[in-house]
Symmetry: C2
Amino acid sequence: MPALRLALNQIDTTFGDLPGNADLVVRWTRHAADQGAQLVAFPDATLIGSPAEAQQPRPWLLDASRSALVQLAERLESEGLGGTPVVLGCVEGRGDGPASRPALLHQGHVLTRPATHGPVVVRLHGVDVALGVGGDLQQDGKWLHALSGAGLLLVTGAFPYATGGGDARLERVRDRARAAGCAVACVNLTGGQDERVFDGDSLVVDAKGEVLARAPQFEEGCLLADLDLPPATSGPDGPGDHHVVISEEAAPAPAEPVAAGRARRMDELEEVYAALVCGVRAQTAKNGFTSILVGLDGGIGSALVAAVAVDAIGAEDVHGVTLPTSETSGQALENAAETARRTGLVLRSVPLDPVLDACTDALDLTDLADLNLQARLCGTVLAALAETEGRLLLATSDRTGLTIGHPSVHGQAMGAFAPLRHVYRTTALRLAKWRNAAAAARGEVPPVPERTLTDADDQPGAEPLPPYEVLDALLTAYVDEGAGESELVGRGFPPETVARVTRLADAAASTRHRHPPGTRL
Amino acid sequence: MPALRLALNQIDTTFGDLPGNADLVVRWTRHAADQGAQLVAFPDATLIGSPAEAQQPRPWLLDASRSALVQLAERLESEGLGGTPVVLGCVEGRGDGPASRPALLHQGHVLTRPATHGPVVVRLHGVDVALGVGGDLQQDGKWLHALSGAGLLLVTGAFPYATGGGDARLERVRDRARAAGCAVACVNLTGGQDERVFDGDSLVVDAKGEVLARAPQFEEGCLLADLDLPPATSGPDGPGDHHVVISEEAAPAPAEPVAAGRARRMDELEEVYAALVCGVRAQTAKNGFTSILVGLDGGIGSALVAAVAVDAIGAEDVHGVTLPTSETSGQALENAAETARRTGLVLRSVPLDPVLDACTDALDLTDLADLNLQARLCGTVLAALAETEGRLLLATSDRTGLTIGHPSVHGQAMGAFAPLRHVYRTTALRLAKWRNAAAAARGEVPPVPERTLTDADDQPGAEPLPPYEVLDALLTAYVDEGAGESELVGRGFPPETVARVTRLADAAASTRHRHPPGTRL
C-alpha cells in the first residue's frame, strides 16, 4: 500500500495574535518538512487562535484572518515550504455565525471547503485524503458517504478539555474510522485561552479503529506517523463533490521509518492538575504577565494555587503574601511559611491590623459584616500590590466556597483568575495529595505542607456546615444536577442540612457569575 | 355580533413564589369577575413568575408549578370563581427544555395545550377564542391556518422590556390580527426580575389591526374591554385539532358597557427612566430588602441612581453616604448634600482618610494603584455598611465607565445591583435632565443638582479621553456593533482616539461580566 508520512502539530496558539500564530505554522511546517512529512496538519482556529464557540470573534477579526491565511500560503511558498501540503482549521464568518472549516495550503494557494455539503478530498501520492473539522466527527448520511474510497480522514480539531474527555474523543474517532472504513487522524490544540484549556492528545487510528499513534496531553509538539493507506480507487475526479489532485504517483518509501509515538496516558488527578497548570500558564503569558501574586492564608486552597502557580511559571516569579491580623493563628502563618519553603516562592507579610482598625473604628459593624470586611480588605490590599508590581493576582477560592458564598470568598475571590473556580474543596484536597505523592515519587519536596492537608477538613465559617464530603456531594446534586430539596432528602441527606445548604447556595447564586474566571474541567 | 367582556390582568409576579403568584391570580380573577368579565387572562409564566428564557427553572420547580396549577384551578372553583374561564401562561418542561404554553382553568379543571401543533380553541358564548403564547405571534403555516374561524386570538405573553420594544410588539400584534383575520388580545407581565423588566402595555386590536384598548406601561392593573366578536361558524367540533366548548349561547348584553382604556404612551426617555425605577424597585422588594444604600460622589451617575432609588422606594428608605478624603473637592460634597436636600434621602459621611492612610502607609503604590485602592476601599466600606444595616447596595457606575474599565468603577461597581450597567454616560445625563424637567413641569423640586448636570461633561480619569458624546458613540460602534478599528477610522473617529479607546475596552472586556447585574434596556 502507498505510504504517507503525516505530521500532526498540536500547537499552542493565542487568540487574536494572527502574526504570532502564522509564525508557529511556518516554524512547525519547516520542522515537519525537515523530517520528511508529506502532509502537515494544524488544529482548528489556528490563525485566530481559539475556536469560534469559545470566543465569537468579531467580523473584522474574521476578515483579518482571511487575509492572513492568503499571506500565510504565500509565505510558506516563498520560504520554500510550498511543496508540502498544509492543512489547518479556519474560523470563517457564515450567514448563521462563525464556523470552522478546513483549509489546504499548497504552492502558495489556499483551498477552503466550499459552502456545499461534504468534505474536501485531496489526492496526495495516489491516496484520497478527506479533510474535516471537529464537528464532522458527528456528521453522517451524505457527509459520511462522501468519504467512501478515501484512505484517510484528517480532522483539524480544537476540543476544549473536559475531565475524561480524551477517552470519549478517542471512542468517537474510532467509531468514525469504523463507520467510514478509513484511517482517521485528529489533531488538537494544546494550551489555554481564558477559561478553556486544550489537552493536545492528537491521535491516529487505522480503519479498524486501532490506535496507531497518540501524542502527549497538554504538550506542544509534532506527532509523526508513517501510514500505510489504500490507493485511491476512483478516477482522477475522485469521490465527493470537491476533489483536488496534488499527486497521483506513490511516495518513495521512507529511507528510515519513524516510530509512531504512543504517549503515556495521565491518570485522572494528574490530568486535572495538568489542566490547572496549563490554565494558569496561559492566563499569565497570554495577558502579558511574567509573575503571579497570591495571598496565602495557610489553607488548602491557597496552598494548591501556589503549587499550581509554581509549576506553571517557576517559583522565582510567584510572590506569596500573608495578611496577618492580631487574631490570625500562628499555625496559619507557619503553614504559609512552610509553603514558601517547600516551593521556593517569594513570601512577604503585610500586617492588616492598621487598615482593619481604621475601618472598624469608623464603622459600627455586625460580626458577619466584620468578617466580610476583613476578607474584602485582604482582597483590596492584594489587588493594590498586584497592580503596583504588575503581577497577575490569582484568587484562591474554590468552587465549594464560591457556591455557598462563604464569607472568606470576598477576599479570596479577588483576582483576575481563580484556578479553583470549578474545583470542589474535596477535589482540591485530592489534587494536593496527588501532587505531593508525585513529588515524593520523584524524590522531590512535596509542595503542600502536611499540616495544611491534615487541617483541610476543618470547617471555619460563621454557621455549622456538614463535612466537606457531604457538602460537595450535596452541592453537586443541587447545583450541577438540579435535584430539588425533596429529592435530596430522598437521597439520604439530612433535611436540616439540605435546608441550610440550599439556602446558602440560593443566596449566593446571583453573585456566582461575578467571580473571576477559572479553568473549566 | 356577540359581545365578550375580556379582562387582561398585567400583574407583577415573583420568580419561584408559587403561593404568592397564585394569590395574585385569585385576587385579580375576583376583581375581574366582580366587574362582569367573561374571560380573564394572565401573562406567561404566571405561577413560576419569570419566563423560561430568562430563568431556566429547575426540574423540581417545574414539577411544583404543575401541581400548583391544579391546586389553583381547584381553589378558584372552591372560592366561587370556577365559572369564569381563566387563561394563563405556564412554563412546562419538555424534551428540549422548558417551554411556555397557555393553560385554561374552568370549573376546577386544567386544560393545557397538547404537545401537537396548533392552538387550543375555546368556544365561549358562541365565539371561538384561540389561545397562544408570546412566541406564537411569529408562528405561521399550519398554526396560523388553525385560527381560521376564530373570533379572537388571546396571547399570554411575557415580553422583556427593550427600548422601543412596545412599538415593535404593537406592530407584530397588528400584523398577526390582519394575517389571521381576527381580533388579537395580548397580556404582558409587568414589574422586574433580576436584569429583566416587563413593561405591561397589554393591548387589544381588532381584526383590521386597529387598537381597541391599551394598558399603561410599567403598572400593575386590569385592562377591561367589551369586544364585539363574530360568532363561530363551524360546528361544535370547531376549527383546529384542540377544541373545547364552554358555552354556545351568546352572552347577555352588558348592563353598562365599559369604556376601553387607552393609556397615554411614554416618550423615549420617560420609558427608559420608568424601566430603571421598575428594575430597582423589583430588585429591592424581591430580594427581601426594604431600604437602599448608595455612595454619593457628587457625579451624575450617583445622582441619577439616587433619584431612581427615591422614585422606586421613597426617600426615607434611601441612605446616601459620602466618603470624603482630604483631596475630595468641596463641590463634590456640596453636590451630594444638594442631592440629599432635593430628594429627601438620608445622608451621612464616613471620612475615608484614616483607612486610606493605613493602607498607603503599609504599601508603596503607584499612582494608578493608589487611585484603584481608594475606589476599592470606598466599595469595601459601603459593602460593610450595607451588610451591617441590611440594605441593598446599589452600584453607581455606568456603562461607559464599565466598558473602558474606568478606575473609579472599582468602587462604584461594588454593589448587588448596578441600575446604570446598560446606560451609557450620555444617556444618563439625558435621563437626569428629563427627570428634572418632569419634576419642574409638575411643580416639584428637580432631584438632580444643577451643578452636577453642568459638570457632567468633565472627564476625570488618568489619561485623556474624548468628550463623552464621542466616547459613547465610539464604544457603541466598537463593542455593541462589532466595528473594527479601520472601520471606526473610516466613520470619522480620530485614529489615535480609536487606538486609545479600543485598547481600554479590550483590557476591560474580560472583567465586564463580573460587574453587578443591571436592568436591560
